[in-house]
Subunit: 480 residues, 2 copies
Amino acid sequence: MNPLKEILNPGSIVIYGASNNPTKMGSMQLINILETGYQGKVFVVHRREKEVLGLPAWPSAEAIPERVDLAQVVTPPQAVPGILEEIGRAGIRRAIIISGGFKEMGDEGRELEGKLREIAERHAIRFLGPNCVGIMSSPASLNTTTIARPPMGGKVALVSQSGAYSAMIYPFLAERGLRVHTTISVGNEADIDVVDCLDYLAEVDEVRAVGLYLETVRRPREFIHAARKAAERKPVTAFYVGGTEAGARASLSHTGAICGSDELYSGLFSQSGVIRVSDMDEMADALLALSLQPLPPGPRFAVITNSGGPGSALCYHLEKAGLEVPIFSRGLAERLKAMTRPLSYCGNPVDLTFETDQNLFLRILGEVLSSGEVDGAVIYGLFAPSDFMHNIKARIPAVREVEEALEKGFSDFTRSLAEIPRSLGKPLLVLSFLPPGSSTAKKLVGSGIPVYQSARRIAEVASVMVRYSQVSPGSRDRAP
Amino acid sequence: MNPLKEILNPGSIVIYGASNNPTKMGSMQLINILETGYQGKVFVVHRREKEVLGLPAWPSAEAIPERVDLAQVVTPPQAVPGILEEIGRAGIRRAIIISGGFKEMGDEGRELEGKLREIAERHAIRFLGPNCVGIMSSPASLNTTTIARPPMGGKVALVSQSGAYSAMIYPFLAERGLRVHTTISVGNEADIDVVDCLDYLAEVDEVRAVGLYLETVRRPREFIHAARKAAERKPVTAFYVGGTEAGARASLSHTGAICGSDELYSGLFSQSGVIRVSDMDEMADALLALSLQPLPPGPRFAVITNSGGPGSALCYHLEKAGLEVPIFSRGLAERLKAMTRPLSYCGNPVDLTFETDQNLFLRILGEVLSSGEVDGAVIYGLFAPSDFMHNIKARIPAVREVEEALEKGFSDFTRSLAEIPRSLGKPLLVLSFLPPGSSTAKKLVGSGIPVYQSARRIAEVASVMVRYSQVSPGSRDRAP
C-alpha cells in the first residue's frame, strides 16, 4: 500500500519537537494541528516537560499506551536517528521528518541521511523528508505545517520539493480562491519521493489536478511512468527551476538536488504528459481553471467584452499564446448583433462598449458557446454593484436601500453564468481588474468561474488547458 | 502652452450629460468629481432640469455667468457638435469628449469626428477624446471618470488609448499599492494625442515614471521625438496590443486604430527609448519599482532568502530574464557566513534556511549592497508577525498582549530596511506570498519597498529597471 495514504489520513499523531515556547517550529506545527479541526488523537513527546501547550507530554513514544499511526519530528538533526529508532520500537510505521541539516549540508549530512534510511528500513518505517515542512490533508482536516489557515477543501494537490512552495504559499493560494485538497512537502526525498506522490494522487478521485514544484527528478524512468499514468486521469503541471547556473547552485544548497538543463527537463515533462509552467503564479492560475472548468475541445476562443482595451489585450495575448480567436460566421455575428446595442461590434471580439445590463452576457455566452465556432470563451466586464457604489451611496442615500437587492441579483447572475460552460462542456474564464477580495471576484470564483487580473494570465491558463486537452483527449469528458 | 496643463488643473468645470439618474455615465462622473475633493467650481448643463444631483442646472454653458475652464461632455454622438459650438461661444477652450460613436464606428462616425475637429479649430478649443473616459489628476484632486476611489497621490502617470486601462484599472492599481499622479484617457485622439501627453508629462517633475497603453501610434516621427525627450528624464513603458490578427481587428473596432506588426512597434519603441512590457500587470509591477526605488547601475543581483524554493526560483528567473546572479567573492561570503547560522549558504543566493530574526536581513542587505559585487537585491522571507499569529493567539492568549509591540517592531524594521537601498543607490525588491492586503505587504510598500508575489514578476521588474538604466544612464542618479 502507498505509505501516503496513512501519512495523509492518520488516526493518531505524535509530535517530537514541540515545547511551551510558541515561537519554535514544532510548537507552531502542534498549534496548527490542534486548531485546524483534526479529529484524530494527538500526542506530544518531551524529554523534560510534563505538559506542552495544554497537552500531557510523554517522555518517549514507547511510553504512549497505544500504537500511534504517524510521528512528526522537528529536532536538531543529530537527534533524529535516535528518535527514529525509538518510534520504530514503539511500532510507528509512518513519519514526517521536518528537521534540516542532512544531504543539503554536504558529506556529513549525507551520511546522517543514510543512517535515517537504514534505521527506517530496519523498522519498516516509510517517511517524508528530511528537510520538509509537513503536510496538509483536507479529508483529515490536518495541517502539520507552521502556516495557519490553509485554503482547504478543494480539488487540487500540490507536491513540492520546497517547503515554502507547499506551505508559505497558503495565503497566496487562498487569495486567489484556489482551495487545495492536499499539499505534500517532500524535502530531500530520502524515502518517499515525487514518484510515490504521483502514484498515490493518480488514484485519489477527489483530486482533479496536480501541481509539482521540482528542483530535480531523482528517478526519471519511474517519474515518466507515474506521471503518464496520472496525466491520463488528471492534469499534472510542473514548475522546474534547476535549469540555469544560479538556479542549479541554489537548488544544490537547498535540497541537495543535482539539476539538469532546462531542455532536458522540458523533454522529460513532455514525454510524461506533464504541462510545464513558468512559475507558481502561473501554476496556481492554471490549477484554478483546471479544477473548476471543463476542458476546451480545441484552441478556438471567443472574447466577449464591454470595453475595447481589455478585449484587444485578450485577443492579442490569446493569439500570442498560440490559440485562435476566429472571426465569427455571418450567421452568428448577425444573431449577436440582434441582441446588442447599435454601437457594438460582433465579429469576435464581441465588444458591447459600455453595457450595464449584465444579463446580456448570459445570452451572448450561450449563443457563442453553443455555436460550434469556438471551444471556450473569455469575458471582460462583469462587476458586483457594490464594488462601484461607494461614491453613489455617499451622494444618494436611497441607493443604499437597493444595494442588497442588486447584490443578490449579481449572485443569481453568477450562478446562471456558471451553468453555461458546465452544460455546454466548454470553459469560461473571466478577466477583471477588481481585486480577489472584491465582491465581484468572490462571487464569480464562488460560483466556479475563475477570475484573473490580466489578459496575459488568461492566455497562459487557456494555453495550459488546451495543451492538457491534447495530452489526454479522453479526459475531456470528465466532469470538472 | 500644452493644453493638458489646464485640462488636468482646471479652476472650473462644466458637465454635459449628467442627470438625476445615478446609473448614467455622466451622473457617475459628476458624483466622482464632487466626492474626490476637487476644490474648483463645478457646473452642470441640463436642457430641462433645474437641479441635477443637488447642483443648480444651467440650460447651456452660455448661461453660466463666468468663463469656465473645462467642459466634459457625455451625450449621444449626434449632440456633440452642437455642444462644442455652444461651449466655444461661451469662451471655453478645453474639453473632454467622453461620447463614443465616432471614428471607431466607420465612415459616418469618421465624418462626425471631422466635424468636431473643424468646430474645435474654429473656436480654438483643444480636447481629449472622443470615445474616452476622462482624467484623474492628483494635484487637482480631480477624478472625472466613472470609477470611484482612484489611487491618487503617487509619482506615476498613465496615458491610455483604452478607457478601461485608464480608469477601470484603478482598483487593480490600488490593490498593488501603486498610487498614481495622473491618468489620461486619450480615446480616438481626434485632437490631443499620446505625443502631446508625453510632451506634457516630460515636464512635470513630480511624475517619475510613465506608462502607455497603445493600440496605434498616429504620429510616429513626433512620437519618437517626444518619447526620447521624456525617456531622458524618466522611464517610459508601453503595452502595445495591435500586433496580432485578432488584436488588430479588436483595436480597429475599438478606437479606429490601424495597427502595425509587433516587430514594427518593437522597433519604434526601442528607437524611442520606450521599454515595452507585455501587459498592464507587468507595467504596474514595473512602475511600482521605478517610482519607489533607485535604478540598478548594472545587471547583477543578490538573492537573500530564508527558504530554498523561492531562492531557487528567483535565481532561475533572474537569469532567464538575462540578468546575473554572480557568485560572491570569498571575502564577502565569509563576512556573511560570520553573521548567519551554521546551516546557511552564503554564495548567492544567501539562504538563511528558517530564520525568525528579521533584523539579520538589515545587516546582510547592507553588506551585500555595499560590496560592489551586485547592482541590486531581492529578499524573500519578510513577514509582519500578525500575519502568522492567528492560531497562536487562539491557543496562547498571552500572545495577544505582545502583538502590538511585535507589529511596531516590524514597522520600524521596514523603515530601516527601506533606508539601505535609498542610501546605497541600488534597488531592493521583495518577494512575498502574503497578499497585498496583508500587514506585511502594506508596511513594506508603505515604506517604499515594492513587493511582488512571484519570482517571475520580480525578474521582469528587475529587467525593466536594468533596461531603462541602459537607455538613460544619466537618470540613474536621480532620487527615486
